[in-house]
Each structure stands twice: as structure tokens, then as C-alpha cells.
């Protein structure tokens, strides 16, 4: 046993025994109140709730396909929609202020008017998702997202058919 403890400090008899609470070491104190962990946990629960709400309101079926408008519930005209289709070949008109194009999916076609220049890798023959409102047969888009197809080909400048292949695209030939 460790005997080099000061006798006066701890008391040598029951009368002089020091019963006052001893100061807790900082390490023990931290263990007793894990505030950082509790705060992180509360933030996590709050964020999880927000993410879950987003999932239920927005993420399930991110978009309607062009041929689903009016056919599938949640895809009616007059409300905010996200519509997916393939940009028709040669349909893009850009006058500097607005961009007009048509997009098709499943045999149906839809004219789109978009204020501004779509970002991303927007071009004809690629699938896009447009956010906006459908009014009188024209889809007024305020956001265009380019849906990346799932093929990865090397961009080889020496390949002669490269341009033709890009222009035809896999999407337009379907």
C-alpha cells in the first residue's frame, strides 16, 4: 500500500477524519458531463429530422418523365414539377435572355422555356431534369439539371467518328 500520504491531511482518527468532498479531477468531471457529445447528438437528431422531411417531401421520385404528365399522380399541370426528358436534336434556341427547347420521353414531347443559360454540360440529345411550372402546354423552367447518363467514354480527339458519335449520342438514337 501507498503509505507516503500526509497523515494530517487525511486524519489519523475518526474525529479528525476529513469528510469534505474532494475536488474532482478535470478528467473525471469531463466524463460526468459529456456536453460536446450531447450537443452533437441533439444536432444530429435535428438534422436527421430535416433530412427525413426532405426525403418524404422531395426525394421520393425526384421527377416525372415527360410521358407521365397528367398520367401519374403528382405529375399534374399547374403545380411545381420536375420533369425529365431528352433534349430534342436541333431544338435549342438561345436569344441571350431565354433558352427554348423541346424535350421528349416515351414518345411524348414538351416545349420548355428557361430564363437564362442552363449550367452544367447542357446540350442536345442528353437527358435533363427541369424544375418549373407547366402552364398552357409550355413548361416554364427556372432550373435545369443535366442528368448524367451512365456511360464513360474516352474523349479522344484523334478519333474521326468522335464528333458524329457525340452529335448522334446514345440518347437521340433511341
Amino acid at each position: 500500500m501507498n503509505q507516503n500520504v500526509n497523515d494530517d491531511e487525511i486524519g489519523t482518527s475518526a474525529d479528525s477524519l476529513d469528510l469534505s468532498p474532494r475536488p474532482v479531477s478535470p478528467r473525471q468531471q469531463r466524463k460526468r458531463r459529456p456536453w460536446p457529445a450531447i450537443i452533437v447528438l441533439l444536432l444530429v437528431v435535428a438534422t436527421g429530422g430535416i433530412v427525413l422531411t426532405k426525403f418524404l417531401t422531395s426525394a421520393i421520385d425526384y421527377y416525372c418523365n415527360v410521358d407521365e404528365i397528367g398520367a401519374k399522380s403528382g405529375c399534374e399541370a399547374g403545380r411545381r414539377l420536375r420533369i425529365q426528358g431528352v433534349v430534342d436534336e436541333g431544338s435549342i434556341e438561345n436569344d441571350g435572355v431565354t433558352t427554348k427547347f423541346t424535350m421528349s420521353f416515351g414518345g411524348e414531347s414538351l416545349p420548355v422555356t428557361y430564363d437564362g443559360d442552363p449550367g452544367g454540360i447542357f446540350k442536345e440529345c442528353i437527358p435533363v431534369v427541369v424544375h418549373g411550372i407547366l402552364t398552357e402546354g409550355v413548361f416554364l423552367g427556372d432550373r435545369v439539371e443535366v442528368k448524367h447518363s451512365n456511360d464513360y467514354k474516352a474523349d479522344n480527339p484523334d478519333r474521326v467518328e468522335n464528333e458524329a458519335l457525340t452529335a448522334e449520342g446514345t440518347a437521340c438514337s433511341q
Binding site: 500500500m1 501507498n2 503509505q3 500520504v5 497523515d7 487525511i10 486524519g11 489519523t12 475518526a14 477524519l17 479531477s25 478528467r27 473525471q28 466524463k31 460526468r32 459529456p34 460536446p36 457529445a37 450531447i38 452533437v40 447528438l41 444530429v44 437528431v45 438534422t47 436527421g48 433530412v51 426532405k54 426525403f55 422531395s58 426525394a59 421520393i60 421520385d61 425526384y62 421527377y63 416525372c64 418523365n65 425529365q84 442552363p118 449550367g119 452544367g120 454540360i121 447542357f122 442528353i126 431534369v129 432550373r143 435545369v144 439539371e145 443535366v146 442528368k147 448524367h148 447518363s149 451512365n150 456511360d151 464513360y152 467514354k153 474516352a154 474523349d155 479522344n156 458519335l165 457525340t166
Partner: protein, 256 residues
């Protein structure tokens, strides 16, 4: 207990590195250099995405390794909960793996966000894949917070193990979200339903190299972190031992 260990020469059981992890670390560094050379310079640009396709070599391995890390957290947690294999080492492997998993998931989210800006035209959107991934990320941050709630090592191990077994169920939801719902995110490129991979040969090779390098890095990180967690637990225990020794000294003082 109060043995004075000199700081400049820690004993062998007080360090986290071994001959094996040192060799592994060198392998990871060499592999990373090769991955950077192949990913940034040798592999071709994509016909549609251009140079941004190179983000894939960090994004996809990051996501896969996060899945792997969380699955290993789940397995280790099950091993802890099963009486025959109950050992705090399993608990520490689970914790270490979850930490590394959160790190890889973060890498995947950040690189994916940058790629999304270039390709889709937006950093973030609430489609099913992105939303479920965010939920998975947040869940494991919560798991790590639960590990930090205090109590004995056994309490920590038991409550975090139960949580880990629930959290691992989210992984199939994240992986198959692109097939279950309409998503902006593309379907799985390599481990997808249709097994014909639509990818250039060198791109695919670079991607697999990325997965291998990230896997080795994961092993290195988990081994070290697991050992440093063991040292942390030892320090906690020694703090308790010191307190017990002090109380015993008082008791013997009273008895005299």
C-alpha cells in the same frame, strides 16, 4: 501503477505502429502516388463530362469504403454483443471503423458535390440517393456522439453496438435508392444490376486502383485508431486505479 515511463522511448505496447503497419503505410503512399498520376494525368477525359470525370476516382472509392467501414462496424458490434466473442477490442474496432467511415463518406459527399456543380449544374439537390446518403452520414455522426456519452467501457460498447446494428440497415437503402426511385444521381456504374460496364478500360482500371488504395488506407487508419482507442481506455482505467489506490490509502489510514 505509478511507474515512470520515459517519454522518448515508449514501451512496445504503448505505440500504435508495428512493422506491418509501417510497410502498409509505405504501400498506401506509393499507391496514392500511382492513383494521382493515373487519375489526373494518364487516364482520358470523358466525352461528355470532360476533365470532371477524374473526380470519380475519389468519389466512388470513398463511397464504397464508407459502406465497407460501416458494415465492419456492424460485424464488430455483433461480435461484441455475442457472449462467446465479447471483447472490448471488437467495440474499439467498431468505433475506429465508424470514424474512418464518416471520413470517407465526407470525402464522397464533398467530391460528389463538386462533380454535381460541374455536371448537373448544382452542388446539392434532395434526390433519393443524395438524401439517403446524407441521412447515413448524419446517423454515423450520431453513433460517434453516442460513443462519447460516457459511462463505463462496457456501457459504451453495449449501447453503441445496438445502434450500429440498426444503422447498418440503412446501407442497402442508400445503395439501391437509385433503382427504387427516380433520382438525378445515375445508377451504379460498376456494381449495378446490368453487369455490362459502360466504361473505358483505363478509366475502369484507375477506378479499381482507387478502390484498392482506399481499402489499404482504411486498414491502416483503423489499425492505428483502434490501438489509440485502446490506449485511451487504458488511460481511463489507470485513472480509476489511481483513485482506488488513493482511497485504499485513506482507508488504511483510518484503520490504524
Amino acid at each position: 501503477m505509478n511507474t515512470s515511463t520515459s517519454l522518448d522511448a515508449p514501451p512496445r505496447d504503448r505505440v500504435t505502429g508495428t512493422q506491418f503497419t509501417r510497410g502498409l503505410g509505405i504501400l498506401v503512399l506509393a499507391g496514392m502516388v500511382l492513383l494521382i498520376v493515373l487519375g489526373l494525368f494518364v487516364s482520358p477525359a470523358d466525352v461528355n463530362q470532360g476533365e470532371s470525370v477524374r473526380i470519380m476516382y475519389a468519389h466512388v472509392p470513398g463511397a464504397w469504403l464508407a459502406y465497407l467501414a460501416f458494415v465492419i462496424t456492424g460485424i464488430s458490434s455483433a461480435a461484441y454483443l455475442w457472449k462467446r466473442t465479447r471483447s472490448l477490442t471488437w467495440d474499439r474496432i467498431a468505433g475506429a471503423s465508424a470514424e474512418v467511415g464518416v471520413l470517407f463518406m465526407g470525402i464522397s459527399l464533398i467530391t460528389g458535390s463538386l462533380w454535381g456543380r460541374i455536371t448537373w449544374g448544382t452542388y446539392w439537390t434532395w434526390d433519393a440517393r443524395l438524401t439517403t446518403t446524407a441521412f447515413l452520414f448524419v446517423t454515423y455522426i450520431g453513433y460517434l456522439a453516442v460513443r462519447g456519452l460516457g459511462g463505463t467501457h462496457q456501457q459504451r460498447a453495449r449501447r453503441s453496438a445496438v445502434l450500429a446494428l440498426l444503422a447498418v440497415l440503412e446501407i442497402p437503402l442508400v445503395h439501391f435508392s437509385v433503382e427504387l426511385w427516380n433520382t438525378l444521381h445515375q445508377e451504379a456504374s460498376v456494381a449495378g444490376r446490368g453487369t455490362d460496364v459502360e466504361m473505358d478500360g483505363l478509366m475502369l482500371f484507375t477506378l479499381f486502383l482507387g478502390v484498392i488504395v482506399f481499402t489499404l488506407m482504411y486498414v491502416w487508419l483503423v489499425l492505428h485508431r483502434q490501438r489509440s482507442l485502446a490506449l485511451e481506455d487504458m488511460l481511463d482505467d489507470s485513472g480509476l486505479d489511481n483513485a482506488l489506490t488513493a482511497r485504499r490509502a485513506e482507508a488504511s489510514g483510518v484503520a490504524r
